[in-house]
């Protein structure tokens, strides 16, 4: 089928296409304007902007910890609407089905679950397979697992470590590797309560820095497109900006991605010993081209923090609202679920302002990524409001009226004039994520690209405009019209398939037999276990 999207304002920074024009789709791909020009379907897009489907690189949408959070908080996600005719279970609050629908309505077509515990890979992929419409991907967590820590302790050859990383990525069907408070979860099992970049995991004698550097090198050497995705130490503590600064410095010329930098943007100034270090961190990011970051913006209201940083979550138990938590010591990281409400008090305001400062003070939209670390800083449903804050200084000023003035006094936010343009939004939420993840088929509107397209009707309210897309195409299927889902389809989980070394498989088989009394078969699964047609899409490694 040939579709013409007619007379829209096209915003495609990758291909340098900006301005009024037509866009053509044949089946699931974008194509050049055909010679004859007879479309089977015409989408009238005058008065609309046309962008590639958005890509979220860090949103906790599925897997063991997210599902435990659902169990812990049944009172917080009641549905209130009956089932719509064409989209079963899409009104079930915080369900996989609702997740896919809400993302698609905003024009997002690919979302990365950034914290898949390797032992729960099958569970994670089953959840993701029940998220309709969009494509998904996962990052596999390493860095607190005994197998890796033992290899580092024993000075195992680099290639052996790379074989292990490759096996993990291949067997868990991941798109990359994440390390979460490297070494801290292992140390916490030995009753260590705080852990920094140069602290050493007891029993292994391996520092957090060494774990990060080892994994960063392995990811790079294996040609995994996405750089090592790092959740630094000391998340949320006053003074954590020092840890983030030290981690940025540790990148040392090799690509490194730092997740939810907002949660490390904290200095120790002021009478409460809690201040904004955003300007300092932004300057460091600006000066370190090999580093990319996402924000983890805080927005006000009730949410739940879901993290595999079990040490941090344990220490945050006292702040739980409502007062209940789950803390799990897993085979590697485990995790913690702590419900939390961000108030407009000093601390909430500070966090909100720090996130915005980082967004606005980091110059290069190719290196700063749009996230709330869903649901940790805010649920992803806050995205439209956040776009508005980035694109409108007036919206920020209006918002600050009800916030803590003593917090705002310790932040540079009020002095920042910058407003993101649509072109910068297209880079930050489309082009740059595709590049960072190695997804050459999306994030742009060039011929041959996958027909993931979001069309927004211009409106004075940016939140309204970007919150309800006029049309969304996924793989060429029209899935959203006037902000409503009109068609269910099933996306894929994008994965890498690095070659697996047979000696490593034997070594792991022995290890599992000896240490767990179980064959490796207990952790492997065939694609057919997902019970959907073609559940995975393969992304090539760098050569």
């Amino acid at each position: 089928m040939l579709t013409k999207i007619a007379s829209g304002d096209i915003i495609d920074p990758v291909n340098g296409r900006l301005g009024k024009g037509d866009l053509w789709i044949k089946d699931d791909k974008i194509v050049p304007a055909p010679a004859g020009g007879a479309a089977d379907r015409i989408i009238e897009a005058s008065g609309c902007i046309v962008m590639a489907g958005a890509i979220d690189i860090h949103s906790h949408i599925g897997g063991g910890n997210v599902n435990t959070a659902r169990l812990l908080l049944p009172e917080q996600h009641a549905a209130h609407q009956v089932r719509p005719a064409t989209t079963p279970l899409s009104n079930a609050g915080w369900s996989t089905f609702q997740t896919g629908c809400l993302y698609a309505k905003m024009g997002f077509t690919t979302v990365v679950e950034p914290a898949m515990s390797p032992g729960a890979a099958l569970h994670t992929h089953l959840e993701l397979a029940d998220i309709p419409i969009i494509d998904k991907a996962t990052l596999a967590i390493l860095g607190n697992d005994d197998f890796l820590l033992s290899m580092i302790r024993d000075d195992a050859p680099r290639t052996m470590i790379e074989d292990y990383v490759a096996w993990t990525v291949a067997s868990t069907r991941a798109l990359g590797v994440k390390v979460i408070n490297a070494g801290a979860a292992a140390a916490f099992k030995e009753n260590v309560r705080t852990f920094s970049l140069d602290d050493v995991v007891p029993s292994y004698g391996v520092s957090s820095r060494k774990i990060v550097k080892t994994l960063q090198a392995a990811v790079d050497s294996l040609g995994l497109p996405h750089p090592l995705h790092v959740h630094c130490n000391n998340l949320g503590s006053p003074g954590s900006a020092d840890t983030a600064a030290a981690t940025i410095a540790a990148a040392d010329g090799l690509p490194l991605h730092l997740a939810h930098l907002q949660f490390y943007g904290y200095g120790t100034e002021g009478k409460r010993g809690f201040s904004s270090a955003a300007a300092r961190l932004a300057e460091l990011v600006n000066a370190t081209p090999e580093v990319t970051i996402d924000i983890g913006q805080v927005m006000f209201g009730q949410t739940v923090t879901v993290s595999s940083d079990v040490m941090r979550q344990f220490s945050a138990r006292g702040s739980a609202h409502p007062k209940k938590t789950v803390i799990h010591d897993g085979d590697g990281n485990g995790g913690g679920i702590v419900p939390y409400s961000y108030g407009k008090d000093f601390y909430g305001t500070m966090q909100w302002a720090i996130g915005l400062e980082l967004f606005l003070l980091i110059d290069d939209p190719w290196r700063v990524f749009f996230t709330t670390d869903h649901p940790n800083g805010a649920p992803f449903t806050a995205y439209p409001a956040l776009f508005e804050l980035l694109m409108s200084r007036e919206a920020r000023t209006e918002m600050t009226a009800g916030l803590s003035s003593s917090a705002l006094a310790l932040s540079t936010l009020a002095a920042i004039d910058r407003e993101y343009t649509f072109e910068e939004i297209a880079i930050m939420t489309r082009a740059a994520p595709a590049k960072l993840l190695g997804l050459t088929d999306r994030g742009h509107l060039g011929a041959g690209a996958t027909a993931d397209i979001a069309i927004y009707r211009r409106d004075r309210s940016i939140a309204k405009m970007l919150g309800r897309a006029a049309y969304v195409f996924k793989d060429g299927d029209l899935v959203v019209q006037d902000g409503e889902i009109i068609h269910y389809r099933w996306g894929k989980a994008l994965r890498l398939k690095p070659p697996v070394d047979k000696a490593m498989v034997r070594r792991l088989e022995d290890y599992h037999q000896q240490r767990y009394g179980l064959s490796l078969d207990w952790f492997n699964f065939p694609d057919s276990a997902i019970a959907r047609e073609q559940p995975f899409g393969e992304v090539p490694c760098r050569t």
Partner: protein, 362 residues
């Protein structure tokens, strides 16, 4: 071989499914109970949404106690693999379901390789005379009990004594326990809703929280029913809620009392029961005037059922994904003796396509 019946008459699967669908469509208050794999659960919940049904595990009471621990209080838990590799003190809390006895035996037959002492001590909490899983190598578990006091009361006494508070009746062998805890690096408490009341599970978590003030400890959740916990997980991601959720108003509502399917049947609220369990042919409830659709592994019609359709057993007749308490997560298993019998999910979807125009999403 017959595989489907309408009443006592043999029928084609298509006809039996169509009849089941018509019963479902005309039901005022349908209820589903199941003991099935992940795919069966997904299909059943998708059908429940369409039919406006409430759903529960076939033996839901113990699971409901475990679920309530998470929905109401939260918990500290540890993975089974970490328990094997790290637990230097293992405390068996109350009677555990038989399915977990193998794991307990294995813990007794191994030492924790990630613990400096490389040894393991066993305790058991509960009334004198409770059944204890056999420990390998002739090992003994030290009993912690307050005579015939309930598990919750014993745990309360244990917690109080640990905090140095006076208790009306002291816990037997407490000094041994205190000594073991003082030396332990990672004690793990094995718990289940099988025999433990909600209050006992809560009290245990209180004790674990107390221990974690200064040192480490955690609990290993050994579900009363593995399929049941697998279904709980799938239900949570599909609807946001655990089992005992209903769609009477067209959207999912979690209500562990109202949607207790056994209660709904006993109280006469339900008028149709879809029972999905390869391994249990006969429903436990007394015969009521309620239509039964039975999906089970059988060669004959289930007595009193309006419709019976034979299904295979997950992991025996067909490949499946199930919850494994040995790994603490979902696991893919191959058919041990692959057969022609359809899976529960296949039959549920067949009924769904007969009852409703659109194909179900799961």
């Amino acid at each position: 071989m017959a595989v489907a019946w309408i009443g006592n008459r043999e029928a084609l699967i298509e006809h039996a499914a169509a009849h089941a669908a018509s019963l479902l469509s005309s039901s005022r208050c349908p209820v589903f109970s199941f003991d099935t794999d992940i795919d069966g659960t997904r299909a059943a919940i998708a059908l429940a949404e369409r039919a406006g049904a409430a759903y529960d595990h076939a033996d839901g009471a113990a699971l409901a106690r475990e679920t309530a621990l998470f929905t109401d209080k939260g918990a500290m838990t540890v993975a089974p693999g970490e328990t094997r590799r790290r637990a230097d003190v293992v405390v068996i809390v109350g009677e555990l379901p038989r399915i977990h006895h193998g794991l307990v035996g294995e813990l007794a037959g191994t030492v924790p390789d990630l613990s400096t002492g490389n040894q393991r001590e066993f305790f058991v909490v509960g009334p004198n005379g409770m059944s204890v899983p056999p420990l390998n190598g002739g090992r003994k578990a030290t009993q912690l009990s307050c005579g015939q006091s309930s598990l919750a009361a014993t745990l309360a006494a244990l917690r109080a004594q640990y905090k140095g508070q006076r208790t009306s009746q002291p816990v037997s062998n407490f000094n041994d326990f205190a000594k073991a805890l003082a030396a332990a690096h990672f004690p793990v408490f094995l718990f289940s809703g099988h025999a433990a009341e909600g209050l006992a599970l809560e009290m245990l978590q209180g004790l674990i929280a107390d221990l974690n003030r200064k040192s480490r400890a955690s609990g290993l959740h050994l579900p009363a029913n593995e399929n049941g916990w697998g279904s709980t997980l799938a239900s949570a991601w599909m609807t946001g809620f655990p089992l005992r959720t209903g769609f009477a108003r067209g959207f999912p509502e979690f209500d562990p009392w109202r949607c207790d399917v056994a209660r709904m049947i006993a109280a006469g609220e339900a008028d149709l029961h879809l029972r999905i369990s390869a391994t249990t042919a006969q429903p436990k409830e007394k015969k009521r005037r309620i239509a039964l659709i039975a999906l089970t592994k059988t060669q004959e019609p289930v007595a009193g059922a309006a419709v019976t359709i034979a299904i295979g057993e997950a992991g025996v007749d067909h490949d499946a994904v199930v919850y494994s308490s040995r790994t603490g997560s979902l696991r893919s298993i191959d058919a041990q003796a692959a057969s022609q019998l359809p899976s529960a999910a296949t039959i549920i979807r067949l009924i769904a396509t007969h009852a409703f125009a659109e194909a179900p999403p799961c």
